[in-house]
Symmetry: C2
Subunit: 212 residues, 2 copies
DNA sequence: TGTTGTGAAGGCGTTCACAGCC
DNA sequence: GGCTGTGAACGCCTTCACAACA
């Protein structure tokens, strides 16, 4: 396998990374279907992109295809897995133990991709101590210690909006490297910490706007 | 209140609509805090945008500010509510009755903004008949009829990936106008149907990429 | 022939900068 | 003086188009 490494200092856009996730998913399906090779055209068709876009996206990371043939499914899958960092384990801290957190916790896909939730915390006494599978819900007062001691690198914030920035501050000071925020509030984190936001209301509002 | 209506045929970008949602949230907070006016600078600071961007975004829909003063909080809130279509009720159909669907169902924010879930459907006999608040989970076999009879306009797909396209097809043929898809699969819908995707795995993969 | 890889062109969203107005 | 509204400049992402090559 050719090492998937950027040779240039070109900044890869967020859109490109998101599309890589899409290609990754399609390649998994193609593998299950027993396909050996795939063209940029097919990959585009099944992932909702365009052939040129597929080739351009991949070109940021190397030359993975064969002219006249296309891409080897197994090889490209491995390349993208490596590019996206899915070939390792990511220790995750889940803050908030509400319905959304529980849905995320029970979601099998994450664990399959290497995202392993190793702590669940909340500030509700009624929830603290609850067993969630092999974990017990802990008090959010222990957040910083838990993150440090278990060396958790990604924090998922699934708390009410009012608590989100405070939680983020504690995560950051404890050394968290990435934050996935579900609270509908703009968070401030230092530039070295990666931040992604998922705001369900924004998506519904986007639909509402389009339907008007 | 000046009517919020686009005078030009300029296509408003998706980014602009998403930012409007952010401004909307900040304005709500400002209102609670008793602020009467707000400048593009403050709005940008609190929503994670830039002053020029705020003004440009708003300019697509009208002229809502006063030079030298800024924007009236109450008025701008009403304008954006109208622009985003949050001044009406949207009847929503929730397909899939798993943990994620339940989290969405119990989320109070949606109802507050006018998104009212009026049907929950699943194909699991063990779930059909379950009471979810004032609703009962119905069989997905009745999907088309339910959408038509209750005149539901937005469908939320919270099913496994394998079922998603089939559900989307039924929703579309029953006359649904917008789809919010949580299944990790690219959906095909006719151009007249609005489609938004929320893919939690993509967000985690984006973090993973950034942390590598 | 078929398909990739990629420089160049194109298009679109963001930022600038300033005229206009309160 | 302060802040908005907006045409113009800018920069980035996407698309094109074709040379390279299996």
């Amino acid at each position: 396998m050719i090492s998937a490494r950027r040779t240039e200092e070109t900044r890869v856009s967020d859109s490109t990374v998101r599309r890589l996730s899409g290609y990754y998913r399609v390649l998994g399906e193609l593998l299950e279907q027993g396909e050996n090779t795939v063209s940029s055209y097919q990959l585009a068709l099944r992932s909702g992109s365009t052939p040129a876009q597929v080739r351009k996206d991949l070109s940021f990371f190397g030359q993975f295809g064969k002219r006249g043939t296309g891409y080897d499914v197994v090889q490209l899958l491995a390349e993208i897995r490596s590019i996206l960092g899915l070939d390792r384990r990511w220790k995750v801290c889940l803050v908030g133990a509400g319905n959304l957190a529980h849905a995320l916790f029970t979601h099998k896909e994450f664990e399959r991709e290497g995202f392993v939730i190793e702590a669940v915390l909340d500030n509700d006494p009624a929830k603290i101590g609850q067993r969630w599978s092999h974990l017990a819900v802990e008090t959010v007062e222990h957040l910083a210690r838990v993150v440090r001691e278990r060396q958790l690198v990604i924090g998922i914030i699934a708390t009410p909006a009012a608590a989100a920035q405070d939680v983020a501050d504690h995560l950051v000071s404890a050394g968290i490297q990435g934050v996935l925020n579900f609270a509908p509030r703009k968070l401030s984190v230092p530039p070295k910490v990666s931040l992604r936001n998922v705001n369900l209301a924004i998506e519904l509002e986007g639909l509402s706007f389009a339907l008007k």
